[in-house]
């Protein structure tokens, strides 16, 4: 049997750090996730710091000529991406808790370090 054919897919952890509209990197990171999903990559997303703001529902960025990031984010599960982790510290700092655009799992510092250890590749946006 061809050993390449049965080689497990690499686990890619995408760390998101940017607020949704302060920096174009937030959207470009999600664009990468969509592309990776199209290539059937094993993706896990971790929202840390200001990036937890990306998850809040009912955003209205058209008033500042931006596109709603939650629409793109909520499309990811359609492409088979279902692992969304969110830094519980950051949630606490911003005083937000639920009503997110995708189903998330809260993680503390210890669980975040486990995510890092378990990933084959980490991309930092």
């Amino acid at each position: 049997m061809n050993s390449n054919a049965i080689k497990a897919r690499k686990k890619v952890l995408v760390i998101l750090t940017q607020s949704p509209y302060g920096n174009a990197l937030s959207r470009e990171a999600i664009d990468y996730c969509l592309a990776a999903a199209a290539f059937e990559q094993d993706l896990t997303l971790l929202f840390t710091g200001d990036a937890v703001l990306q998850l809040i529902n009912d955003q209205n960025p058209s008033t500042i000529n931006q596109k709603d990031l939650t629409k793109t984010l909520s499309a990811l599960p359609i492409y088979g991406i279902n692992q969304f982790y969110v830094d519980s510290n950051a949630l606490e700092q911003y005083g937000i808790d639920n009503d997110f655009c995708v189903p998330t799992i809260k993680v503390d510092v210890k669980e975040i370090s486990e995510l890092l250890v378990n990933a084959d590749t980490i991309l930092n946006f």
């Binding site: 690499k10 890619v12 920096n23 174009a24 990197l25 470009e28 664009d31 990468y32 592309a35 990776a36 290539f39 990559q41 590749t121 980490i122 991309l123 930092n124 946006f125």
Partner: protein
């Protein structure tokens, strides 16, 4: 070991590119292989043939050119991120009806699939942040 680099910061505005350049040189010096350097976000400005820093500052464009010529490393710029920021090759200039193009011939424009491919084929992928 096989390495790929993802660069996100604009040259001359952030340390991102210069740190990545130093890292690339260190990799090659130590016998590692650089599978690809992928320029995304504001790092697409690395591809502009038109940048011209003062003579007493590092000419980043020339540094990439040297690495390309000496080691034939794969320098790929995200096409979507580049075109929206005004970094165009001849094809894109024609497609978007622009009078001129400015992509240095050390680089090529391609899609995010090249970043996915780099994560698949590299032992390590290092991000140089914005």
């Amino acid at each position: 070991m096989n390495y790929s680099l993802v660069i996100l910061g604009a040259p001359y505005s952030t340390q991102s590119t210069t740190t990545a350049l130093n890292f690339t040189k260190a990799l090659l010096k130590n016998g590692h292989n650089v599978y690809r350097v992928f320029f995304y976000h504001d790092a697409v400005h690395n591809g502009s043939e038109l940048s011209r820093p003062p003579q007493d500052e590092l000419d980043i464009s020339t540094e990439w050119k040297k690495l390309k010529n000496e080691h034939d490393i794969d320098l790929v710029i995200c096409i979507a991120a580049a075109v929206k920021r005004g970094v165009l090759d001849n094809n894109e200039a024609l497609r978007h009806e622009k009078k001129s193009s400015n992509l240095s011939n050390s680089f090529e424009l391609s899609g995010l699939g090249q970043l996915v491919d780099a994560t698949e084929h590299s032992d390590r992928v290092i991000t140089f942040g914005p």
